[in-house]
């Protein structure tokens, strides 16, 4: 049977009316799959019947629709997915909005904590620096305290002599003190208002023992403390400071003497 004969037989109309037997239906489906012109005619018959039914349609009573939709389940049965498009969109929109909100909140929170962290981090570094400075200061204070304690111990020791050294030149108001413990033979120099001598020179302390000047060392200004430990000495009758070339000399340059103090017995 050609496809034309097949079409002309009227079997397609019966197929559309749903009155064919199972083998006949299978035959129509096979012919449609194999012959595009059969498939096209089947679609034409279907289309025509649908439109004819639309033309000849009769509006059903309104109550039918009411009853039908009242009988439908309110929501999708359990286990079946409901893809109601508008609702789905709403859900997506809601989820999108929630996601965006969450992202913004997260970003905001992160930014807040980052700023807090940066701020705290800066504060922490400042505190570390401050702590370091305070430690240094504490160290200096401790050193200062130690020296003051030493000085106090020295000054209050009954064997310590406090010798005032006065300026030897007209117009100079230099005044220093030497603390000398005659028992321990330790010597401390209180620099008083003595200024630094410059890069090429040093102030050098001398002790006069049995008429002869003994080197007590050059004065170290690197330590900011006003009390400088010098060499030990015994049997001194006087102390003097001269301004000498850098590093000092073995014997003093007398014309460069700045201060002198005699030990009163």
């Amino acid at each position: 049977m050609t496809s034309k004969e097949f079409i002309e037989s009227g079997i397609l109309e019966l197929y559309v009316l749903g009155t064919l037997s199972a083998p006949e239906k299978a035959e129509v489906e096979r012919m449609c799959a194999e012959h595009p012109e059969v498939k096209a005619e089947l679609e034409a018959v279907e289309h025509a019947m649908e439109l004819m039914d639309q033309e000849l349609g009769i509006a059903p009573p309104v109550s039918v629709k009411q009853k039908l939709f009242d009988a439908l389940p309110e929501s999708a049965p359990v286990g079946k997915q409901l893809h109601l498009e508008p609702a789905s969109e709403t859900k997506n929109n809601w989820m999108m909005a929630a996601s965006v909100t969450f992202a913004l909140l997260s970003f905001g929170t992160a930014l807040f904590f980052f700023q807090r962290y940066s701020s705290v981090s800066g504060e922490y570094e400042a505190l570390v620096a401050q702590n370091s400075m305070m430690a240094q200061e504490l160290n200096q204070v401790k050193n200062s305290l130690d020296q003051n304690e030493q000085m106090l111990a020295l000054a209050t020791d009954e064997n310590t002599k406090r010798i005032q050294l006065n300026a030897t030149k007209e117009g100079s108001n230099l005044q220093l003190f030497v603390y000398w413990n005659t028992t321990s033979e330790e010597v401390y120099l209180d620099l008083g208002n003595l200024g630094t001598p410059g890069d090429q020179q040093d102030y050098q302390l001398w002790a006069i023992v049995e008429g002869k000047p003994i080197d007590m060392g050059v004065i170290d200004f690197t330590n900011s403390n006003s009390l400088v430990k010098m060499k030990n000495i015994k049997g001194a009758v006087a102390f003097a400071i001269t301004l000498e070339p850098k590093g000092g000399l073995e014997s003093p340059t007398l014309e460069n003497m700045v201060v002198l103090g005699q030990i009163t017995t």
Binding site: E46, M52, L82, H83, L84, E85
Partner: protein, 186 residues
């Protein structure tokens, strides 16, 4: 021509959404097809009450069994109308229906003398009777019996002694003429 539905949702999408139990889509399906299907059902059962019942049952079946629809076998409407037609035919053959006296038994059927209550089927300015009057009587008889009243070809062969081949060719010829009259061919 009037009364044609403007299709807004493509059939493929409509099927998918109904299969996913989308109530809005199902309501669209009802609004789009209930009139055509109710017309088909009413012409078979000839009772507003029974036609309403059948229409309700048919749509419940579309809702519950939409996943059975196979687009490769034909259009959605073809599937729908066949379910409705079969439900309507089942009604006419049920004991209850026969006892109600509403049956249009083959024996009482007299097409040519307009025994059928065609007037009540007249809608949108065009009625089945008016249409059938345009066909040759032998074609109109077969179209009326099969297309409008839901008889099967074997029932017609048996009750009216018309050979199956003749039933088919008369139906085909009648349908082609109706397609031309209604100007529904693509």
């Amino acid at each position: 021509m009037s009364g044609r539905t403007v299709y807004i949702i493509p059939e493929e999408e409509l099927v998918r959404r109904v299969q996913e139990k989308d109530k809005l889509a199902f309501e669209y399906l009802y609004d789009r097809y209930s009139k055509a299907i109710y017309g088909v059902v009413f012409r078979i059962v000839r009772s507003e009450e029974v036609a309403s019942e059948v229409l309700n049952d048919a749509f419940l079946r579309y809702w519950e069994r939409s996943e059975k629809y196979d687009s490769s076998k034909g259009k959605l409407y073809t599937w729908m109308v066949n379910i409705a037609r079969n439900l309507a035919i089942d009604k006419t053959r049920s004991k209850e229906f026969s006892q109600s006296g509403k049956t249009d038994s083959v024996e009482s059927f007299v097409y040519a003398e307009a025994a059928l209550p065609m007037e009540e089927m007249k809608v949108d300015g065009i009625g089945v009777r008016e249409l059938l009057s345009k066909l040759k009587p032998d074609q109109a008889e077969i179209v009326d019996l099969m297309y409008f009243q839901g008889y099967t070809q074997s029932e017609i062969e048996e009750k009216f002694n018309i050979p199956l081949g003749t039933v088919k060719t008369r139906l085909r010829a009648g349908m082609i003429l109706l397609r031309k009259l209604l100007n529904v061919d693509k």
